[in-house]
Symmetry: C2
């Protein structure tokens, strides 16, 4: 999996408009009604991450969950990151 | 629940030596064998947090989990934070 060119990252971000590029990674913050619902989401993210062996950084602040994704082996953002982002967006509702 | 004096925070930290004071909160990073074991721990933390309605910030980076705790209503660190830290240390092993 190769690191994407910057122009390709910008194009790919159009497919997941809630995500933003931050310090060479892609990031989105999800908001839920409360902590319990945030944790349900985090566990779904964990399952998706384990299935792919591709793990986002996950920050939980009460009802807000921030995911930060890049591909360490490639030293940057890859299609794998966007595939994970798209999958997670689909079940985040 | 009142914000603790700095000297009392220092004394309380002696009871949970793996925790440190960071920017007016208390913080500890736990390391596990892998992401799955980290998530088992995070779910235990979530249950303890819900039971108390006292929620740490939880940062998960693969096998490392950083908890950051303070009492927002009190504007700083309280005994409630140390009670949560002690409880979590007990099941973190």
């Amino acid at each position: 999996m190769e690191k994407m060119a910057e122009a390709d990252v910008k194009t790919a971000l159009d497919r997941v408009p809630e995500w933003a590029e931050v310090n060479g990674e892609i990031q989105r913050t999800y908001r839920f009604d409360d902590f319990e619902r945030a944790m349900v989401f985090v566990n779904k993210v964990a399952d998706a991450a384990e299935a792919r062996q591709h793990h986002p950084d996950i920050m939980i602040r009460y009802n807000k969950v921030t995911l930060t994704v890049s591909t360490h082996d490639a030293g940057g953002i890859t299609e794998k990151d966007f595939e994970l982002a798209t999958t997670i967006d689909a079940f985040a509702g």
